[in-house]
Amino acid sequence: MNINIFEGFGHVLYEVAFALIPLLIFFLFFQIFILKLPMKKLMDIFRGMFLTFWGLAFFLQGVHIGFLPAGEMMGTILGQKEHLWVLIPIGFLLGFVATFAEPAVRILNHEVEKVSGGYIPRKVMLYTLSIGVAISIALSMLRIIVGIPLWYFIIPGYLLALIMIKFSTRTFTAIAFDSGGVATGPMTVTFIVAMSVGIATVLEGRDPLLDGFGMIALVALSPILSVLTLGLLYGRKEKGNERTFESES
């Protein structure tokens, strides 16, 4: 058995260094001219950046050696199955699990809970987002199988979102549009996109560039719709609460 764990790791380290250097320069500029943090705080921040560097390096290496090739092969194998419809429930399951697992989603949920004073519990956000993404990955699978252009989903989707903004509160509008991007984190982008590129490669009449991509777009759209829906459901209660917040502060 031949497993290449550290293949290309040097290149990944080089790439991560180049990815982080602009950020470091930016911070140093602020440190020298504006922030002027004490040494102790500065050391904490450098320790954080050091961890970020190795974290990114291991993450990208794991993606390179594991998630990209395995995801693509999984797609290739599934795309050759006789019953292509199984891709739809598989997509649903993967979408749910990937979002449930997504660190960026957790960061947003936490910030939302904090800013809304616990009013929007992170559990409710988490389940709403996960189901939203699950549906959109299932739809993406359908899109690849049938060969529907991305437009047919994107235009009605965004129109619906724009219409719902009219009925939503400003807070929920902002959170909804933020959560769209947040749900499309490293798990979705690495594993599930690799899989859909794999499927589009083996299916006859599909162009991997045209049909394999576009999934992230749908993944970004569906949480927007689900959070806006959540916003409409919570809407009435929130109006009462905003008054309470104002009198407290």
Binding site: T52, L68, I90, E102
Partner: protein
């Protein structure tokens, strides 16, 4: 110490479900070669270690930096400086964003290098930068986010009519990947910082919405790239 334990727990809980689904699929209907399956398992271990270190790093180093820069910006007194540094921050955070990189690698591979990864990364970063700058302007002028969202997406649909079909899925995908584990904490913290310093504003409404705007920028930027290529 508690922080480390929580992060480890979070990442392990986060990754095990996805991996279990793949493992179950492997033994029921996929059956990829054992070597590839072992590569996947190693990938899971590496990604887990990577995410644990990354999240710890974000907590210790990046979130406080984002918040401090966010609250230092408006104190500079000059609106154009806030917009300019918002622009720069958007750019540097996106270049460091792992998701953008992963998408660019995949596009590079699938397009046989026609859309090279560096071109895509810098295009996307420029798009984010412009829109973070605009978002700063919006917070300063107290301009409703809805106008920017509607205007931005309107422009997206207009540009999409002039760009080659292959660029459309990629451009919308690029809009999604800019909001990953690097950009989100950084930009959210920046927005919350700026909004909390400016008096009389709800941090919730103004801090959030930044990420949303940051994902329109790259869609537009990649569509423009498509027009240039086409």
């Amino acid at each position: 110490m508690q922080n480390i334990k929580d992060t480890v727990k979070e990442v392990v809980y986060a990754i095990i479900p996805l991996s279990l689904v793949v493992i179950v699929l492997q033994f029921t209907m996929i059956g990829m070669p054992m070597e590839m399956f072992m590569q996947f398992i190693m990938g899971v271990i590496f990604v887990s270690i990577g995410l644990i270190l990354f999240l710890l790093g974000v907590h210790i180093g990046l979130l406080p930096v984002g918040e401090m820069i966010g609250s230092a910006l408006p104190k500079m007194g000059k609106a154009w400086l806030v917009v300019f540094f918002g622009f720069l921050l958007g750019f540097v955070a996106t270049v460091a964003e792992p998701d953008v990189r992963v998408l660019a690698i995949q596009v590079d591979l699938v397009s046989d290098g026609i859309i090279s990864r560096n071109i895509l990364i810098y295009t996307v970063a420029l798009g984010v930068a412009i829109f973070v700058g605009l978002a700063m302007l919006r917070i300063l002028l107290n301009f409703p986010i809805t106008y920017l969202l509607v205007g931005g997406y309107g422009l997206v649909f207009l540009l999409a009519a002039f760009t080659p079909a292959q660029f459309i899925p990629i451009s919308f995908d690029a809009g999604g990947v800019t909001t990953g584990p690097m950009t989100v904490p950084f930009i959210l913290a920046l927005g919350v910082g700026v909004a909390s310093v400016l008096r009389g504003k709800s941090a919730s409404t103004d801090g959030f919405g930044l990420v949303a705007l940051a994902s329109i920028g790259p869609i537009l930027a990649v569509l423009v790239l498509g027009v240039i290529y086409g």
